[in-house]
Subunit: 230 residues, 2 copies
DNA sequence: TAGATTGTTAATCGATTAACAATC
DNA sequence: TAGATTGTTAATCGATTAACAATC
């Protein structure tokens, strides 16, 4: 091992200062991203109630985050407010809508036409947000050929071909635990961008498809923790 | 304002040290509680795969938390492991099952027999975990009187009486956004312990009923944030 | 016993909150 | 202009990770 020269030491120190300040990685914290949908929802409500401007303090009172956190969060993306005035509600909503990527439309397919698959197919909110359901896939031949929420149910064997021909962006997995990973393995070879999995297992991909494993029951279990001794 | 005596100052200092060490509040961090269902799920899988013992390092490899975090998490509740050996899987599962309050059974009612209500009613996992569905409530007269997952659909007017007579512990709200808070206001006057709300609004209570507002779409929106530029 | 692995303290890291100068 | 409120830096808080003595 050789001794570092003063110059090298100074450079290393500078790099470390950069690092400390997060300048080598300016990606936004996941904690912030997870709060964005709540901002989106509350701002939409404000628009529906004809509120035109709001201060971080007022927003804090209704959304439950501190005013300081709200200003910190928003300033990750830009200075959307105005000193002495606050934020223009419609403008702020549009900004967050854009940050979340909701200006585009996304083509959706659902795999699994059971109760949950049907519930998601019929949940009109998705459609309103720009998620367009193009096809539902099912292994049970009795369901194939039916229509749900105006969308046809196809044999799951046709999945890859359909995904390709219809530029599917996101697939919702509503199968049982046993087949979820198998479907994901098949989807990994396609060009889809994201998987939203409701089967009660954590599915994994080896490429850069975004995966969100939803475990509905988890929130019920934590709820139970808090009431068990009531 | 009067000057504090040295003795009073010393006491205040001691109290503050207590506070700093968290000795005045030994409740377990919410971050830990939220991880418990995942431990529960993975340990169940291990049991099903006939794994009898596991070290924090091995568990770390499959569950994705660091070994250090796993040991910290578990030691909030007790020393469940053994030096040089690791953890007994069946025993650890039983402990976490107990911590979550899953040794008891809970009586459930669902309000709203639409697609999501039906999907939850038919989701057998809840039943396996000890959540016993006793009644479904609906405003639409065409659905009242039907059976879903072997459970009768009642007129929503009967909700309070049924909750009382059947010792309902937890109510799942599967109504639209407009009626969710109204149902919650009615439930607030009953003896239920928790509300699991799927309507796309944040419902609030003024007493000590535990409330979990689930916004399915939130995870889809954060997913979209990560794929918008793909 | 020696090796392995926990339980637990200490160090680090990151997120939240507080404070205030800038400025509309 | 004066008051209000942001944008942003600094301080605090809490959660995660590292380290290691205890011990099976």
């Amino acid at each position: 091992m050789y001794l570092k020269s003063p110059i090298i030491s100074a450079i290393i120190k500078t790099v470390n200062i950069w690092r400390d300040k997060g300048m080598s990685d300016n990606s936004i914290s996941i904690a912030v991203i997870k709060r964005l949908p709540k901002y989106h929802r509350y701002l939409r409500d404000l628009i529906n109630n004809d509120v035109e401007r709001i201060s971080s303090k007022e927003l804090s009172d209704i959304i439950g985050f501190t005013a300081s956190q709200i200003r910190q969060d928003l300033n990750n993306f830009g200075g959307f407010g105005q000193q002495g005035y606050g934020y223009d509600v419609a403008n702020l909503y549009a900004e967050i809508n854009s940050i979340l990527g909701l200006e585009k439309e996304y083509n959706i397919a659902i795999v699994g036409a059971g109760n949950l698959g049907q519930a998601l197919a019929n949940y009109s909110n998705f459609n309103n947000f720009g998620y367009k359901l193009r096809g539902i896939f099912e292994i049970n031949p009795r369901l194939v050929g039916l229509k749900m929420a105006d969308v046809e149910v196809y044999d799951v064997d046709l999945l890859e071909k359909f995904v390709k021909n219809n530029d599917i962006d996101i697939v919702f997995i509503c199968t049982g635990a046993g087949s979820a990973q198998k479907i994901v393995d098949r989807l990994e070879k396609t060009d889809i961008k994201a998987i939203w999995n409701f089967a009660p297992v954590d599915v994994k991909v080896s490429n850069d498809i975004e995966v969100q494993n939803v475990h509905l029951i988890d929130k019920l279990l934590t709820l139970t923790y808090f009431i068990k001794d009531k």
